[in-house]
Amino acid sequence: MTRRFWVYIEQENGKPHQVSWELLGVARRLVQDIEDELQKSGDTAVVEGILVGHNVESVAREALHYGADTVYYVDDPAVKHYLNKPYTTVVTELVKKYQPEVMLVGATTLGRDLAGSVATSVGTGLTADTTHLAMGSPKEGEKKLLMATRPAFGGNVIATILCRNHRPQMATVRPRVFSMPERLAEPRGQIVREPIAITPDMVNAEIVEFLTDKASTVNIEYADVIVAGGRGLGNPKGFELIKQLADELGGVVGASRACVDAHWIGYEHQVGQTGKTVRPKLYIAAGISGAIQHKVGMQESDFILAINRDPNAPIFEVATLGIVGDLYEVIPALIREIRARKEAKHG
């Protein structure tokens, strides 16, 4: 028997969403989790990608580089852009044909739209926004199941969810929760074109216009350096200072929800449970208390610098380095020091 671990490869306009590669890495680890079962049973396990689109073979090839053993690729002009029904229909057909054991989808806007619909049309369970995934036995000796762990009740509780009797076991996973797998120089997998005809009855909507929203071009999710401000800024003008520091470090601006709710800055900057999950190389949190819902969105960053007046602020619990002090003194001094060092280097 072949146990299939599937990843939905998301693309928009031929551009793959990086979460797809993160998920191929996760799927590979899930296969490792069942190594003992495979050895005993003689079964094999494979990591496979599902790709739907038009003229996106390069994305399929890239998936092989990130470790897919096979990519099932449906290519049709009618599915050039994501639309709920045709995509749901195609993916549902593939699931019924190959009967994967597990299926992972990025918890992006498109991914959540698709996963909710596919789970219903296949008739299986779906765990949303998971932050931890493993294959494990619920009871000793029992066959391993997908243990999908996710935050609930505003991040105050974490719950592990099982889907015992229905397949595939589905989960959506937020971008940036897991790290990128290594890119293989010489992939060994194969691309299998799936001849699924998109008939008119599968298409019940059309996109009449694309609007590029300027705000949404800010992409904090995949930035290497983020300088984030919180309510401690005191007023919306504080973000000018945050922006200055971010510019100095070649980074982007992040924010806590308190600032977004107060309309000091746009939602696209929000880090945290209801905003973006980020894992930059450097995260600077200034005037952010470090509520659990904020921490879950940034605690995997490589280096966290927290600047807060209150020595007991919970943000210090996740900070690699903390500065207890007034951000309006610390940040200007930090900018001066950085500039001085840059000049010393050039002069």
Partner: protein, 279 residues
Amino acid sequence: MFHALVSIKQVPDTTNIRIDPETNNLIRQGVPTILNPYDAHAVAAAVEWKRKLGGKVTVITMGPASAVTSLRECIEMGADRAILISDRKFAGADTWATSYVLSEVIKAVHAQEPVDLVFFGKQAIDGDTAQVGPGVAVRLDLPIVTYAVKIHEVDLQNRKVVIERKTESRNEVIRTSLPAALTCEKEIAEIPYASLPDLVYSLRYEPELWTTEGPITFDPSQLGLRGSPTTVFKTGTPEKHKGGEVIKTAELGVENAVKTALDKILAAEGMASLLGVAK
């Protein structure tokens, strides 16, 4: 005549949830419940279009008896009819079982008075799953537009609707046929101030109660915990991190604190070249 149906949920106000520091348990007592914020905006949008086109707004919810207050809040905003779907047999439903019950009810309401648009919130803030809307749409074979930010046009004559949605990288304007479903972001409509007649009416309004006894029948194997493919295996509290070093400007002075901090940051691997600052 325009008939909008809005599916709403009463949720605990998660901003007020606290954890008992001793037992690590959720303190549920005294946590107020509210109408799910996204659903409030969905109701506002439905009412706005009812006022434009003439017609009716029906709201439904599956939940405990206390959800009546959230339904009244919708009536106060201008909804006309409210249905509370409540029964112990529904308890413990995951999104699969929830979408089953809701779609059966929507079918029944549609048979009484045809529905043009079914509104959902983007997600419920207790579970944050965003699965119920797409689930219902699949069951009813309705076209669905998720993350809707604006309804551009509802054309009852030609049975078309034009809705703008937000994706990660852009906004898309989607045209589809009626009836259709959408899940709403907050931008979809502002919450209106209640008019005095609506306010007075809502105070005395009694929602209809639908149970497993009637007026419609449900397949018992699809309900509640038993009808849910997913189960909670265990719950816990998120692991606590231990922080690193902390320096104080009050002790070192601002300049020194900043210099020390920058040295430590730049000492991390790859940081100096990433930031373009020499060690």
